[in-house]
């Protein structure tokens, strides 16, 4: 059921009921009042006749024997004057004696020839005056009055129903406009809906909707960028492999050997990119449960990572590294450290020192990896954790820092990058230590750093 129909139906039924009740009540009141005032007039006319007769000498009508004088009859009203003994002195309708022969003083109803009369009898000293109104006249008068009173009611209720329909339609017109706009939109259209002219009740709704649209658009753009980047990263080495293999098939000797070498290098690069990509997807989708299983010693993981990357000679680490433990499975910590070390080796000038410093701070293990090399401007620094962003080192897959970031965030930690003249490139990896409540410490550390 539409909002408009619901509003109109509810308000309309209520209005009609109210108007109907008021009308019924007024009509009832009107009938009573009218009857009362007509009765009063009947009594007044009886009294008026009595008053007139008082001025006539008693003899004048007591002496008159024989036929009572007949007064020309008026339609719908009758009158009779009689003595207390029952002698009719004067009257309008001689044939209506049955109606007019009421002895008791006061009001009564009488029937004559199938018509009903309202009769009033007044006993005044020695005479009885009876007056009667035909009810038909009274009813037609009442009907006229009722009609006159009913039409305004009818007009008012129809008018208010029309006003109600118009008001509701007008009040809901922003919603109708919104509905038309939404229906005419292309289903791929992610542009924001205009807020202007919207009533304050639905404005928050549309603002929320627009926010959602913006987020969806950003998400789609990010997905699109990721797909484009992944396609580029996978297709480029594939192109190199294919071209070099095709060249190798057509040449001999040294050029052939060179082409095969290049193809192999391409395979290696593709393998590395694929591994990193799968790792990233795993980091994003797998549950990294901390506080479950044994905590890992940073020192042990670092040893393994240094051995795997072959950079032990270039590394220098401080003593707390060996004692510190983090709430992360050792395989994942090794992946994180290996990626950071590879990064440091690529960025750092050959055979320069890579410094690893660890400390315990607010329930978090803070591991700093610093390498020598060129200073990175802050705008470029911010882009380094973007997927497939390689900086200036074409050898990498451009995924290392993204992997570490995803891993750290999923484990309730964080990574921060920094670059200045004293520490040309610093990656600060924060991971929760055993027994810490991750969220809280992450937040407090994030604020203090």
């Amino acid at each position: 059921m539409s909002l408009r129909l619901r509003l109109v139906a509810t308000l309309g039924v209520t209005l009609i009921l109210l108007w109907g009740l008021t009308a019924a009540w007024s009509m009832r009141d009107l009938s009573t009042q009218l009857e009362r005032s007509l009765d009063q007039r009947l009594a007044q006319s009886a009294r008026m006749v009595a008053g007139l007769l008082d001025r006539v000498p008693t003899e004048a009508w007591n002496d008159g024997m024989g036929e009572a004088p007949a007064i020309p009859a008026l339609e719908g009203v009758a009158c009779r004057v009689s003595s207390l003994r029952g002698r009719i002195v004067a009257g309008t309708h001689p044939e209506m004696n049955d109606v007019l022969s009421v002895e008791q003083e006061g009001y009564s109803y009488r029937d004559h020839n199938g018509q009903r009369w309202r009769v009033y009898t007044l006993v005044d000293d020695d005479k009885r005056i009876t007056v009667a109104d035909r009810l038909r006249e009274r009813e037609s008068l009442l009907a006229q009055v009722r009609r006159a009173a009913f039409y305004p009611f009818l007009l008012a209720s129809i008018g208010s129903l029309i006003a109600l329909w118009w008001g509701v339609t007008r009040g809901l017109s922003p919603l109708s406009r919104l509905q038309r706009r939404l229906m005419s939109r292309d289903h791929d259209d992610l542009s924001a809906l205009p807020i202007r002219g919207l009533p304050s009740e639905i404005r928050p709704l549309i603002e929320g909707f627009n926010d959602l649209l913006v987020r969806t658009r950003r998400m789609l753009e990010r997905e699109q960028r990721f797909t484009d980047d992944a396609a580029h990263e996978l297709r480029t080495p594939l192109t190199a492999i294919r071209t070099h293999l095709q060249v190798a098939r057509r040449v001999d000797g040294d050029p052939r050997r060179k082409a095969m070498q290049q193809a192999e290098a391409g395979v290696e690069r593709l393998t590395k990119t694929l591994e990193q990509l799968l790792l990233l997807v795993r980091m994003e989708s797998e549950e990294i449960v901390s506080g479950n299983g044994d905590p890992t010693f940073v020192g042990e993981a670092l040893e393994t990572a240094m051995a795997e990357t072959g950079c032990r000679d270039r590394c220098h680490w401080n003593e707390p590294v060996d004692r510190l433990r983090v709430e992360l499975p050792s395989a994942l910590l090794i992946i994180a450290l290996r990626n950071l070390l590879e990064n440091a080796m690529r960025h750092g000038a050959p055979s320069t020192l890579i410094k690893i410093e660890a400390q315990h701070m607010n329930g978090m293990a803070v591991i700093d990896i610093v390498n020598q090399g060129e200073i990175i401007p802050s705008d470029k620094l911010a882009r380094l954790t973007e997927r497939f962003h390689r900086g200036t080192h074409p050898q990498g897959s451009g995924l290392g820092l993204s992997i570490v970031q995803t891993l750290a965030e999923r484990a309730g930690g964080s990574i921060t990058l920094g670059s200045n003249e004293y520490t040309p490139f610093l990656v600060r990896l924060c991971l929760p230590t055993p027994g810490s409540s991750n969220g809280f410490f992450q937040a407090s550390f994030g604020n203090s750093s």
Binding site: D228, A231, H232, L234, R235, T236, P237, L238, T239, A240, I241, R242, T243, H244, Q246, V247, R250, V251, P255, A259, Q262, A265, G266, R269, P394
Partner: protein
């Protein structure tokens, strides 16, 4: 034929260069949009193979710039984006052809030949000059229907002259067509190739325009000696 390859990925560029060299293309590699712009301004290329994703921007913007300023050199775009919308965007941006990575070397070569043929207004793929017919794809030359064996550089020289369609080419222009930027050229190398061509195809096949350069001569007078 001299081709400018704009590709920032060194292994891919090396593969394409080696592959195209097998079909006697002389390939110069640049890795940036700036480099491509400079190279095209300095040397007369027959075609450009343009990667879209380059360190200093999208190859398409450079192509659009070229088309705006009236550079109508045949351009083949290489890209990893295979969506139809991307292809349409590339072709509407002024590309003559479009290849999605990874591609087949033969296809790249065939498409380049097709581009060159279209640019020269040819209908079939062989180039003719009098009694001479040159097939740029098969790299073969016939004189009066008889096959003539030419060395690689001789073929390249003949191709350059045939494609010039009677236009005079200077010694430098000819050297550009035969050698890449990095190749060492001996001072009389060009003369040696011209001498060999004249010996195999007839004295008048190459006409020397004194002080200006060379062009193809009438090929009906002499028979090869």
């Amino acid at each position: 034929m001299r081709v400018l390859l704009v590709e920032d990925d060194a292994p891919v560029a090396a593969g394409i260069e080696a592959g195209l060299a097998l079909s006697d293309f002389v390939v110069d590699i640049v890795t940036t949009l700036d480099g491509a712009h400079g190279a095209l301004a300095a040397i007369e290329y027959d075609a450009v193979v343009l990667d879209r994703r380059l360190p200093d921007g999208d190859g398409l913007t450079l192509l659009q710039h070229w088309r705006r300023v009236g550079i109508d050199i045949p351009v083949l775009i290489l890209t990893a984006k295979d969506a139809v919308a991307n292809r349409v965007e590339g072709l509407q941006g002024g590309a003559d052809d479009y290849l999605v990575k990874p591609f087949d070397l033969d296809e790249l070569t065939a498409r380049l030949h097709a581009l060159l043929r279209r640019a020269a207004g040819q209908i079939d793929h062989s180039l003719r000059h009098g009694r001479l017919a040159f097939d740029p794809v098969a790299r073969s030359v016939t004189l009066d229907g008889e096959s003539v064996v030419l060395l690689r550089r001789e073929l390249m020289l003949l191709e350059a002259l045939i494609r010039a369609r009677g236009r005079i080419l200077s010694a430098d222009q000819l050297k550009d067509r035969l050698y890449g930027i990095d190749e060492e050229i001996e001072s009389n190398a060009l003369n040696v190739h011209i001498y060999q061509l004249r010996r195999k195809l007839g004295r008048d096949v190459i006409e020397t325009v004194r002080g200006v350069g060379y062009r193809l001569g009438p090929t009906h007078s002499d028979t090869p000696s």
